[in-house]
Symmetry: C2
Subunit: 406 residues, 2 copies
């Protein structure tokens, strides 16, 4: 019949699943070390929760639909609305700062493009209830730690950091009005990927002022600005100085950032950003939550996995089992199951055949399963309460009492 997954949706066969879990485990580990607690919300929410703050135009990209009860609902495309909803519901009940992380699957319905996914997994880390630069630095450090656990070093990835307050202050200093700000920021945001961004900037600001803006993009001394320096200093303390550099071009597309903003890129600069985050002090209230300052980031699985593959950092597929138990003769099938039971009870990943088979085929099955050892259960050894263990790499064998098997 030839059914397929819907366009833009992925199947995870065991090999792909192992990669996904390996990436996720680094996310969990980095989060937990830094004292973040995992949470989750429903993959489906009322559409209104998502459009209340962002306006109806966001609905275009949402995987929204009408349910059987006539409700306008959407598969979640981000976590902040749900976070705001939960924080609002608990109001004063939670000690501040709230340090939460999650690993949700997100959905979007964009016009179909080749290879463009409609779902992805994203690590979200947020601190709600503090405006300290130390928190900005900490979430960056957690993101970097997640990458570091996966084997990515300062040679592989870079965190490019700027600040919306600094950007706004600099633009004011050359008399860019509040009404022009958004357009100019959009130009700066596109400088690297859009050849038309410079002419457009010149058109907006005139040549002289545009040159000043472009100068700031190369000006490392801006890293000493009051808005940036405390974050960089805390990044040094957190041991990620090598990963982070100031970059005036980082704006982040989303309108809601209010302070530091940053993105993580591969050093080669070939891929889209691996992660992005920043401070969003007005957003929780905007989504109907209490008035709490907040900072956080998102890191998706797709670009990250692409980068890891490109850098040769993906681990080899894990073996299915450690031990494979081979009954020698049909009458050894029951003893073999008892051996399996013993091994599994001792937390050894172990498997064996469901039906009698020749020893040669059993050893082949052991090899296919990735086992390092085979346990041969034969009548004479079994009668003496023993089994034969074969090391499948060296071929060495030894006879071991069943009670010592593990």
């Amino acid at each position: 019949m030839g059914f397929q997954a819907l366009p833009g949706f992925r199947d995870f066969e065991p090999e792909a699943m192992a990669v996904r879990r390996w990436v996720e485990s680094s996310w969990h580990e980095a989060s937990r070390r830094a004292g973040y607690q995992e949470w989750d919300g429903p993959p489906l929410e009322s559409l209104e929760l998502f459009t209340a703050k962002s306006g109806a135009e966001i609905a275009e990209q949402l995987y929204a639909f009408t349910d059987k009860g006539g409700r306008a609902v959407t598969l979640r495309g981000e976590m902040t609305p749900t976070l705001a909803r939960l924080v609002a519901a608990r109001a004063g009940g939670l000690p501040k700062p709230i340090k939460w992380y999650c690993v949700p699957q997100f959905f979007r319905y964009e016009r179909q493009q080749r290879g463009r996914l409609r779902e992805f997994y994203q690590w979200n880390v947020d601190v709600v209830g503090t405006g300290e630069a130390s928190a900005d630095a900490e979430v960056i450090a957690v993101a970097v730690e997640g990458l570091r656990i996966l084997g990515l070093e300062p040679d592989d990835v870079v965190v490019r950091l700027s600040d919306r307050r600094l950007l706004r202050r600099m633009l004011r200093s050359i008399d860019v009005g509040a009404d022009e700000e958004a357009d100019v920021m959009a130009c700066i945001d596109r400088l690297e990927r859009d050849a038309k961004a410079v002419p457009r900037l010149e058109e907006q600001l005139g040549r002289a002022r545009a040159q000043q803006v472009l100068g700031w993009c190369e000006d490392a001394s801006l890293a000493e600005a009051d808005e940036i320096a405390p974050v960089l200093e805390a990044c040094e303390d957190f041991g990620i100085g090598d990963y982070v550099r100031f970059d005036f071009r980082i704006v982040r597309g989303l309108a809601y950032y209010t302070g530091p903003v940053w993105e993580i890129f591969d050093r080669a600069g070939k891929l889209r950003s691996v992660a992005g985050g920043g401070r969003y002090d007005d957003l929780v209230a905007g989504f109907g939550g209490p008035d709490l300052q907040a900072v956080g980031f998102g890191m998706g699985d797709v670009v990250l996995t692409e980068l890891l593959r490109e850098r040769g950092k993906l681990p080899p597929p894990p073996s299915r089992v450690e031990v494979f138990v081979v009954p020698i003769g049909a009458e050894m099938l029951r003893p073999a199951r008892q051996v399996l039971r013993r091994l599994r009870d001792r937390r050894v990943r172990a498997d064996g055949p469901y039906a009698p088979l020749r020893v040669g085929r059993g050893l082949k099955a052991a090899d296919q399963a990735g086992a390092a050892r085979a346990v041969l259960v034969g009548p004479s050894e079994w009668a003496e309460g023993s089994v034969r263990i074969r090391d499948l790499r060296s071929g060495e064998e030894r006879v071991v009492p069943i009670d010592e098997l593990e």
Copy 2:
């Protein structure tokens, strides 16, 4: 604004999330020990994949809708269609038996009832490509092992096992025709929860034959039947004999089972079934996959968590951190961050304040975070390369060189 989750959908705040992850971890552990590999598919599939085999009436319970592209799609309500789709696509490429497990979230859209959920998580374990009774027993053993890891003993839960072939054979022996079979099986299925089941059975079969059927329901000797005995024998080998008993009343609602069928209940008999499974040799082909025999089960998170709570088996909420670092004075904030870095690098779950605070408040925060130890970073010790560690239970303190902190 007072947004809420959609009816029937759950939020997982950290405490509930920790319980969910704890349950899931037992599922992963039991699966892996027995050599099962994890896989996953999309939460959204084409509606046709789900209705092709089961017919349009199943669509009533599915969380189905029309997407923006006009496609009839559905949030997944079970995993078998996706499993069949993947196995079909890989056809002969996978070594048999295929031993896969997954932990998906499922969705259903039933008429709304108080407290009835529209989503839940379910552990699925399947063996595809064998008809051996040993595989039937193994999946039961894996299910039991998942429960045993959570602390549930033979006093807490029971696996009630029957067999569709046996059931059919017995009904034939009293001349129940193929056309009556489904109705009679539906009656047996409802014997325990529907007072009308006995009268209905008598109406269908007459009093004498109905009495015979009811007699089988109490007849332990049927456990020695050819269809059942090999499964029970293998269950003994796998060490779960205490958990399993034959029960003629187990039919399983779903039409597609072809051999052994079983359900796990709490011994007290108060809750709905914790898990259910069986052999479904025709189903993979029915969903468009190759003609492969298969056996598997599903175990949901909702009834299981209810049972664990009732039995007092839920673990205490995990502490957020092990260590809390308290800077003594504002100038110790940077050293405190460096201490945090060192601890987190050593995989210690550690936290500290983002801003200076009094020692008393710091210790209160340490307590709130569930820390077992506080690390006090004071100017005089820091000058000597040391910090003070306070055991928060005993109150004991000792000074430790930073290089030895872990």
